[in-house]
Symmetry: D2
Subunit: 422 residues, 4 copies
C-alpha cells in the first residue's frame, strides 16, 4: 500500500484536507474484497462499510443538516443505521448487529459518500459568514474523526481477517527495516511542576483541555518500546502462569480467555508466528510487542521490576520532541524495530499504555450539544494510551493527544514502554 | 424468479439431475448482492455462500474422494471450513462463526463449485463398475441434500434480510392468487392398522424406513391449513397472554422472547404487516399462517379445542393423494390461500407441524459410516413436520418424507393443520 | 434411616394416609441440619424447606381454601412464595431464587405445616357431603404429590450435599446386600395389540389415562439393569470420547459439561468413588448404574448394539408383575445389586429410561382447572422413565406410572435397562 | 442493636483489641436466624457464616501457622473453603458458590472461631521475641481486616434480606434524630501543594502510603451530603431518562438493569419506601441518599452543575477534622440527617464517592508476600470512596483511609458530596 502524504509547500486548505481524508479512507479500502466490507467478527469491531458510512453521516448530521440550506438527507434510514453512539442525536441500530447489514451495498455506500462529498464541497466553497467559525470547527473535527475511523478500520480489518483460518492478508508482505535495537536505556527527568494539555490555536480534542499544571516526581523513561523478544522472556519465565504478577482483573482474564501471549501470536511446529495485515509471519524478535492489553503491559512491568509511565510523565517527556517515527504514511502497517539514540519510538509505531485512568482534566468542559458526547462520556474505566501508531497519519498526532481503551482490549496497535522512579 | 421445471418426456438421467440441481442453487442466488452471501444473523442460519460451498464439499467428500481415482481436493482447508456437523469426517469450523468467513470470496466458491462439477461430470460419464451402486446412491443423496440446502438458503436469506431495517426484498412482489378459502371442514378417517414409512425402490432418506404398521384411532383432519385471519383471531382473543393455552416450554418462550405473533409479523400504524421474500407487505388474511413454532401451533390448537395430527395420521391421509399444490417451481415463495374441495394444501405451501416427536421408526438403521450422521443423531427433542413448502421443489417430496425442527424454531416455512378425534 | 411402612391389616383411611405422608416428610428431614434446609445449589433443585412449605401450600390452596368454610390462610405472602408453577393460581416467586429465602425459618414453616394439618384433620373428620368426592380426589392427589416431593427432597439433598467439598453424608453408611448379578439374559415378548394406561378405580395421574391399545412388535427385555461394572466397560472403551455413539444433543453435552462418567462418580488415587446419601464410597461394580441422563443411556445402548425399551414395551412386560424390589421403605437410599431369576428390578431400585418422548396418550384430557397444569403442560421435550426408585415408597408405584425428565437431567435416580428387537 | 464502645482511660492492649473485635463480629450476628448465616443472594455478597470463618482463617493462616509452634489447623479443608482470593496462599472454593456450603454448620464455625481465638490468646500472651514485630503487625492487620468484614457482613445481610418479599428486618426500628438539614453551603479551599497519604506510626493499609505531595486547584466542598429529598428532585426531573446526564457506562447500566432510583428504594401506593436493616420504611427526605453507584453520583453531580471531589481534595479538607459523626457504635445502622455548621458528615454516615479512580500512590509498594494481595491487585477499574459509614466503627477510620468499589456497585453504604471549582 502506498499512501501519498501531502507534499505541498503551503498548508493545505480545509477543502483540500477534507478531500484528502475522504480519498484516503477509500484508498485504505482498496485492498478489500466486497465480502470483507461487511465483516464484524466481534461486538467491538465494526464492518469497514459501516466506517465508510458513519464518517459520512458525521458530516451530514453535524454540518450539512444544520448549515447547508435545503440539504436533503441521502436516505432517511441512515441516521438510524449509521449513528454510532450519540444518544442525543436519535436512536441507533444495535452495535453488535452491524455485520448483519448487507444493505446498503458497498456501491450504495459509496454513492452516499459521493453525495455528501459533493454537498460538502459546495458548502466549503462558499462558507456562510454567519456560521463560518462553527463550520470550520466542525469540519476540522469531522476530518480528525474520519482519521480515527481510518485507524479503526485497519484495526478492525486486522481482527476480522485473523479469525479466518485461511489467514488472508490485507496487503502483500512489506519490507521491514531489520534494525537491531540496542540494550534498553533510560532517560531521566527531574520532578516539579509541569504543564500538560493543549493550549493555543491548533486543533485538539476537548479531552486535551484545559492545559493545566501537574506535579511530577523524578522519573526515568525507557528509551524505546519493549520488543517481542523481551516479551517472550516474560512468557518463558511463566508470565502467564504466575498470579502474583497480575492485577486481579488481569488474572481473571488470563484464566477466562486462556491468554498465553499477546493477540495475534500463535505457536506451531515452526515456533511463534504472528498474524499481521500482511498475513501470518514468523515472529520478529526485534519489533516492538504489539496488541497487548493494559493488564498484560502492567504484568510485564511488574515482572520487570518497573512500572508504566503516567500520562503526565509521558507528555512531559514528549512535549519537546519532533514527530519522527513510522506513521500510516510509511505503508508498512507494522511497527518497526527501534533504532537511534535517545528517546525513540515516542510517536507512531505503537500507542503506549500509561498507568493513568482516562479522566477529565481539571476544569474540563465537553463540547456543547451532541458533540459533547464525543469524548467526555467515556471517562470511566478506560486507560490512556499516548503517542500514536503505524496506523495513524502523522498529521493527526501531537504530544497532548489522549487515546483510551479498556484495560482488557487488545485489538488496537498498543505497545509498552517502561518507566521507573528516579 | 422463474425456475424452469424439468419438462422432458422421459425421466432425466442422474447426470442431468445433478446438473439441474447444481444450476438451480446458483439460480436461487442470482438475486443476491455479493454482500448478502456472507450474512449470518443468527447461530441457526448459515450464509448463502456457505451453503454453496458445503453442498459442494458433500460431493467432494463422499463421492469424489472415495471413488474418483487421483482426485485432488480443491483446497486443503475446505474440509474444515465446509463440513457441517459430520463428527466422523474430521473437525469443523464453529457454526456460529460462519458469517466471519469473508474468504473464500463468492467468486472463489463458484470456482470451487465449477471444479467439483467438472470432476463429477467426468465420474458420472464413466461410472466405475465396481462402485456403480454406491456412487449412484450417494449422488442421489447428494442431490437431495443440495435440494434441502436450497430451501435452507431461502429460509436463511429470508431471516437475514428481515433483520435489516431497510426491508430489502429478495425478489419483486409476486402475483398471489386471491383465493378466498371456504369455511374449515373435516375429512374423517377410520382407525385400525395402517402402514407408514417408505418401501420399494425410489429414493428416500434413512429415517423414512422401515415401512411398518401403526395403530390408528378414528380421526378427522382439517381440509386446509389455518389462515392468517384465523390465527389473528387467536391473537385478538389474548392467545399470547393466556398461560393456560400453552405448554410450559411455550409459555417460557413467550415471556423470554416477547412473542406476540408469528415470526415476520409486525404491527404498525397501517395494521399488521408481514415481511416476505418480496419485502414488507400487508398481512393477507387468506394466506395460511406461516413461520410459527410448534409451541404456537400447539397453543392455537388448544385454543381451538382441537389438536395437531400425528405424523402417522398425516401420512395415512396423504398416502393416496397426488402432489398438487404450490412448490418452489411456482416462484412465488409464498404459500397460497386454499382453494378447492376435499383435503387441500397437503403438499407444498407450508410444512405442517405434527404432534409427533422425531424418533426412530421401529427397526430403524442409519446409513453406514459417516453418512449415518445425516439423520439419526438428531432424534431427540425435535418434532416432525410433513408435506413440504413453497420453497421445496416438487420432485423432492413424497408422503413419507419426515422433516424435523426444534419446538421453538420459527424460521422455516411451517404452518398448521388441525386434527381431532372422531 | 428407618421408615415404618404401614402394617395394618386393613387399608388405612384417608385421614391416616394423610397423616402418614405428612409425618414421613418431616421424618425424611430429620437428618438435616437447619443450615441444609435452605440449600439450592442449582436452578433445578429446591431447598428442603421449600418442599416442606410447597406441599403444605398445595393442601391449603386446592382443598382448604375452596372447601373449608372460613379458612384463613396462614400467611398472605405464602401463596406467592410457595406456588411452584401454577400460572392460573397466581404469581410465583422466581424458582432460581428459592435458596434466597432464609425466612420463613424452618420453625415457622413447621408451624405452617401444623396449622394446615390441623385444619385438614378437621375437614377430613367431617367431610362436607356436597363436595365429598372432590375433596377425596384432591386429598388423594395431594398425598401423591407430597410423595413425589419426598423423592425430590432426597434427590435435591443428594445434589446439594454433593457440591460440598466436605462430602457430608445425609445418613450413616448402610448395609447393602452383596448380591452378584448373573450374566445378562433376555425375556422375549410377542408383538401384537396390547393395552397400556390406567383404567379402573384406583388412583392414577391424569397422564396415565386413557387406557388404550398399542401395537407392539416382537421384542426382548434385559432381565436386569446395567451395572456400574458394565457401564465402566463403556467408559474404558472410550464411550465418552466417541462421537459416533451419541445423539447430537448428547455429544454437545459431553463437550460442554465435560461429562466423562455418570453424575456423582469421581476418580481419584484410590480409583472410582461415588458420592451417595451415605457419603463418598468406593464404586460398587455390582450395583446398577445410577444418575445418568437419557443421552448417556442412549449412548450406552448404541455401544452395546441394543436399544432402550419403549414405554409400551416396558409396561406390557411389567403389567403382570408384582412389586417386589427395594423401595424407600428399605431405608438404604441406594439401588441394590440384582438377584434372582427372570425379569428383576422392574420396580424400585432405579427409574428406567425409555426411548419414548413424554407425550399425551390418545384421548388424554388434563384435570379441569388449575390442577390441569400438574402434568399436561410438560409434554414437550421430556422423556418417560418407568418403574420407580429406592427413593419411592412402594404404595406410590404401579405399572402404568409415567415419570418424565429432560434428556440431559441426571440428578434423579435413573438407571438403564436394555431392550432389543426379537 | 447496642454495641459497647471501648471506654477505658488507657488504650486497650492488642489482646484486648483482638478479643473485642472477635466478640463484636459475633454480636453483630446475634440478630440473625441460623437460616440467614448461609445466604448468598448475589455473587458479590458472602454469607455471614463465611465472613465468620474467613476472618478466622486469616488469623490462622497468617499468624498461627507461621508463628505458633506446633499449631494444628482446625480442619484441613478450611484453607480451601475460607481463603477469599489469595492466589499465592493456595486454591479457593468458587466465590459464587459460597451459599452452597451448608456445612460446616454455624455451630461448627463457632467452634472454629473458639479454637483459633484460644490459640491466638496463647500466642499473644507470650509473643516470641524473634517475631514480635511481625506478629503485632499482622494481628493489627487481622483486626482491621475483621472490621472490614463486619461492615461487609452488614452490607451483605442488608442485600440478602432485601430480596425476601417478607421484608424481614435485621433489627427493630431505631430512633433517628429528626434533623432538618439546612440549605447546602460551600467551604472554600485554596489550591497549591498539599500532602496526602499516611505517614508515621499508627496503623494504615499499604494503599494509603506513601504520603506524598499533590497539586490542588482552588475548590469548594459542599458542607454536607446530598439528601434523599434532593436526590428525589433529580429523579423527578427525569434524571434516569436523560442520557446526556450520564457517563456511557452509566447509561448502559440504567437501561440494562432498569435503574430508576438508588438501591433499596421502591415506590408503591404509599409513595417511596426504602428497605433498611430495620425493614421497609417510608423514605426520609432529610437523610442522606445512600446505596448509589458512582455512575449515579456522577450523573447527579452533572445534573446539579457540580462535580464530585477528588480524593486529594477530600483528604485535604478532612485532614484537620476530628471524627465526629455517626459510626457503627451508634447502633442505628442508618445515616443521620445533617446538623450543625461547617463541613459535616465527613466521617461516618456514608462513604463518599470521589471522582478518583483507585490507583497506586507514587512510590507505592504492597506488603511483602501473600499479604501483598490485600489491596494492590485491585488497582484497576475501581473508584475511591472516603470517610466511612454508619456501619464502620470509629476506631477504624482516619482521613487517609481509601475505600474502593466498582463504578456500578450499590450495596455498600455509599453517599454523595458535591464539589466545585472555585
Amino acid at each position: 500500500m502506498h499512501l501519498q502524504a501531502h507534499a505541498a509547500n503551503e498548508a493545505p486548505s480545509l477543502s483540500e484536507r477534507f478531500a484528502a481524508v475522504r480519498d484516503r479512507t477509500l484508498a485504505l479500502c482498496a485492498p478489500l474484497e466486497i465480502e470483507d466490507y461487511g465483516l464484524q467478527s466481534s461486538d467491538f469491531v465494526s464492518p469497514p462499510k459501516w466506517h465508510l458510512a458513519h464518517t459520512t453521516w458525521f458530516f451530514e448530521t453535524f454540518i450539512l443538516l444544520p448549515y447547508a440550506p435545503g440539504y436533503q438527507v441521502f436516505h432517511p434510514a441512515y441516521a438510524h443505521l449509521f449513528n454510532s453512539y450519540y444518544e442525543t442525536a436519535g436512536t441507533f441500530y444495535p452495535r453488535p448487529q452491524r455485520g448483519w447489514l448487507s444493505r446498503p451495498t458497498v456501491a450504495e455506500v459509496k454513492r452516499y459518500r459521493a453525495h455528501v462529498d459533493a454537498e460538502m464541497r459546495n458548502l466549503l466553497r462558499q462558507l456562510p459568514g454567519a456560521h463560518e467559525h462553527d463550520i470550520v470547527s466542525r469540519v476540522t473535527l469531522g476530518i480528525e474523526h474520519e482519521i480515527q475511523h481510518q485507524e479503526l478500520l485497519l484495526m478492525d480489518t486486522h481482527y476480522n481477517l485473523a479469525h479466518n483460518p485461511l489467514h488472508p492478508a490485507y496487503q502483500a508482505p512489506v519490507h521491514i527495516m531489520g534494525n537491531v535495537p540496542g540494550v534498553l536505556t533510560w532517560s531521566a527527568y527531574r520532578g516539579g511542576l509541569s504543564a500538560i494539555g493543549h493550549a493555543g490555536e491548533g486543533f485538539c480534542f476537548d479531552n486535551e483541555r484545559p492545559r493545566h499544571q501537574v506535579l511530577l516526581r523524578d522519573f526515568r523513561l525507557a528509551n524505546r518500546l519493549i520488543t517481542n523478544g523481551e516479551y517472550l522472556d516474560f512468557i518463558t519465565d511463566g508470565g502467564y502462569q504466575r498470579a502474583e504478577l497480575w492485577l486481579s482483573d488481569g488474572w481473571q482474564q488470563v484464566k477466562a480467555r486462556n491468554w498465553n501471549a499477546p493477540l495475534y501470536w500463535q505457536q506451531d511446529a515452526d515456533g511463534w508466528q504472528r498474524f499481521t495485515l500482511s498475513g501470518l509471519q514468523p515472529l520478529d524478535l526485534h519489533q516492538p510487542v504489539a496488541n497487548l492489553s493494559y493488564l498484560e503491559a502492567d504484568a510485564y512491568a511488574r515482572w520487570a521490576g518497573k512500572r508504566l509511565p503516567t500520562e503526565a510523565e509521558w507528555e512531559h517527556a514528549a512535549a519537546s520532541l519532533a514527530l519522527s517515527d513510522s506513521f500510516l504514511e510509511s505503508g508498512t502497517l507494522q511497527a518497526q524495530a527501534a533504532t537511534g539514540q535517545g528517546l525513540t519510538q515516542m510517536f507512531g509505531e505503537l500507542w503506549q499504555w500509561t498507568q493513568s485512568p482516562y479522566t477529565a482534566y481539571p476544569g474540563f468542559h465537553p463540547l456543547p450539544g451532541t458533540l459533547g458526547e464525543y469524548n467526555g462520556k467515556f471517562m470511566s474505566d478506560q486507560w490512556v494510551l499516548r503517542g500514536g501508531s503505524c496506523l495513524t497519519p502523522e498529521a493527526h498526532l501531537r504530544a497532548t493527544y489522549r487515546n483510551f481503551f479498556r484495560a482488557a482490549d487488545r485489538w488496537m496497535y498498543s505497545g509498552l514502554r517502561l518507566a521507573e522512579d528516579a
